[in-house]
Amino acid sequence: MVVRTKLQEGIFFNSIVDNKFKNNVVTIHFILPLNEKNVSANAIVTSVFKSKLKLAEFNKKLKALYDASIFVEVKKFAGCQDVSIGVQYIKNRYTMGNENIAKTAVELLFACITNQLTDEKIELEGKKQELCDSIKADFSDKVLYAKKRCKEIMFESTVCALDPKGTLEGVNKLLEKEVTEAYYRILEAAQIEIISIGDEQCNFIVQEVLAKGFGKITSKKRIQKKLSAYDFRKEEKYVIDKMEVEQAKLTIGFIKPIDFIEDNIAQTCILNNIYGGSAVSKLFCNVREKLKLCYYCGAEYDNFTGGLTVNSGVDKQNLEQASEAIIREFKSMQNGEFSEEDVSKAKLDYKNRLKILTDSLDYLTMWYETRIFEDNPISPEDFCNMVDKVDKQSIVEQARKFIMTTKYVLEGVN
């Protein structure tokens, strides 16, 4: 259960008590509208936050706290950019002398955020290089790259196509003034969601430290997070990129119009599961096992955009056959060509995954991040109850709302 407290206008503390883990985790999310103008400048603030993590002395302090780890990330949820920083630290009872480390760990985290308030100069070139390296690194993994490219094409002409890390060109053009502005925009004007998962006493300490810390920061009127509906392209588009790859990567995108946020999330998740979300799904059984076209072929659904993507790696000469099979299997979902037993199995599988999720601190953190973004902080257990109510007809209804809009292929030069 999430206990949500407003620390001040636009700053919320979300406490989730879970005693079984050996670590606690705190993440602070700075949420701003995603737009082309500010995306690179906002993203580079992650490098500003990371400044202290380059210093041996600072890292020694973290090590002394039983290797507490501080991490930063920038991602997007539909039209929002989420710049986040977090800390994970061991619970007091596992320290050698039952030391109280929650307070110090969160203070170190806060020191990373407020770092620039005390430093006169931003080492801009180093930070630009760091962010550019991170953008470039995403290009190396071709499976992920193909997915990313397909989404860019699917969502083209909307902010959902933007990379939350920005672009190489955008980063390289940044001036110190713009970075400083972005830093203060994030600190003073972003909506802030703090998520603390741990034992009750630690969550209380974290809340106290952060309430005090943010209390000292000048706040402008914070921009309230807003989810929007997007008008994505409905016509089919086929894009081929060529590169020196051994295996072609095929990604197919389907779109379902949604208003702000998916209202039928449980139904669509079960649809995705039957279609391509498990080892007994239509894609796995037919495209991989029967047609032997690939090693991986799976589907993913994003409930912020209504986009469903299928990712696969196949030999170039089999691209057409694989593509036809993937689309055919989706049509079979729209035609209701699956059994009640398939629905029961998918529901059982999905509920099992939700329970696995509650056993992992990392997954649980991701779960609550997403739910808090949706303004629907339900627990995985609550979601299980929603899954129980899904029936075949409602799955078919959701399947029929999708249209195939994008086919992206990354294939070898020869």
């Binding site: 061991i90 190396s140 295996q247 080892a279 076209l293 056993d359």
Partner: protein, 428 residues
Amino acid sequence: MEKRIIKVERLNENYFEVQHRTGLKIIVFKTLGYSTSYAILGVNYGSTNNRFIDKTGRFLDTPLGIAHFLEHKMFENEDKTDTFELFAKTGASANAFTDFEKTAYLFSGAGYLEENLKILLNFVMHPYFTEETVKKEQGIIAQEIKMYEDSPSWQVFFNAASAMYQKHPIANDIAGTVDSIATITPELLYTCYNNFYSLNNMILTIVGDFDEEQVINLVDKLLSDCKVETKTASAKTYYEIEPAAVKTHRISKILPVSITLAEIGFKENAYTLQENFLRQFVYKIVLDMIFGRASKFYEEVYKEGLVTDSFDTDVIWGAGYLALLISMETAEPDKLYDMIIEEIKRQREHGLNKEDFELCKKSLLSHLIKTTEDLDDFALLLLDITRAGYDLDFVFKFVENISFKDAEQLIYEGFKQERSVLSFVQAK
């Protein structure tokens, strides 16, 4: 059945280690408050066991990648049922993987522990291979191999391994090659299965919030139901003598990447699996002291923008091999290689710092505690500890007792430049 209760003082928790009469070793750890149970059945048979003396004394040289191929094929059953379908009826998520020295079959499920364990033991104990299904799998695994050929991180690692090792099979890709798997037949799979898949060559680890005694009795009952005969010892893997020297010092590959990936490896003196298992911890502390996040070296190369924050260190170990790896994204792999060699020289000259040693040891202990938090990582840790012949309490105590002198000794004995390699993947 011989039952041993192991008290893990560091965690203030107990667990069971059972030696079953069939030869199977069973590890049962209760994790209070968790919703799911996680079980992993590990077979001491991986990609490096491809050459062996079988039970009749015959030497066999089997195709590269056969252990991994066998793992894929175990999911098909003689009665035409599909193992994933069977698990789907309980909702459990099942999977398997093969590494250098083991094949592991696993599931994670909420409830239905008896049903899931029954499916797991049944499918692993009952092989069924035909020409047709082997042929089908050759196509699927060929695609898996091609996927890895496009993976820079996979390529940089295996190139480093193949540069370091001249004879040891760790130099080969776990999945083999498209050509090697094309020679696999049902007969060969049965031969390998019969030589390695004996219960006394396996360990079953189960973690979750349950009554441990009930789970032990349940496995005992299921093993009787499986009607599996206790088999004799498995085949003996044949390893050629590995020379001390590396094969080549520098290896590179061209792939479409926008930032160069590099791994610098040090081939260390290798001992038995048991010895290497423990030595890895001392090496991990030393690597962390010299190249970890709190080191002066990391501060220097990260601040100067020579590496990204993906800079990391690791130790790979097993029977007959132990190597240190420093991995990074960098535009200047040769420069980083030189800097790393220089830093090791400097550390030898000035000596390691005792305060850093204590911090890094504390950090390793925390890392071990953290591993016990995630059921999948924890079950795997218990499996590896048991494979090496130890228990979790012993491991915690071993790490706590690592001395500064142990660390100092390694910096002089190991990290030899003449046994180092630089592997990198860069764009054309």
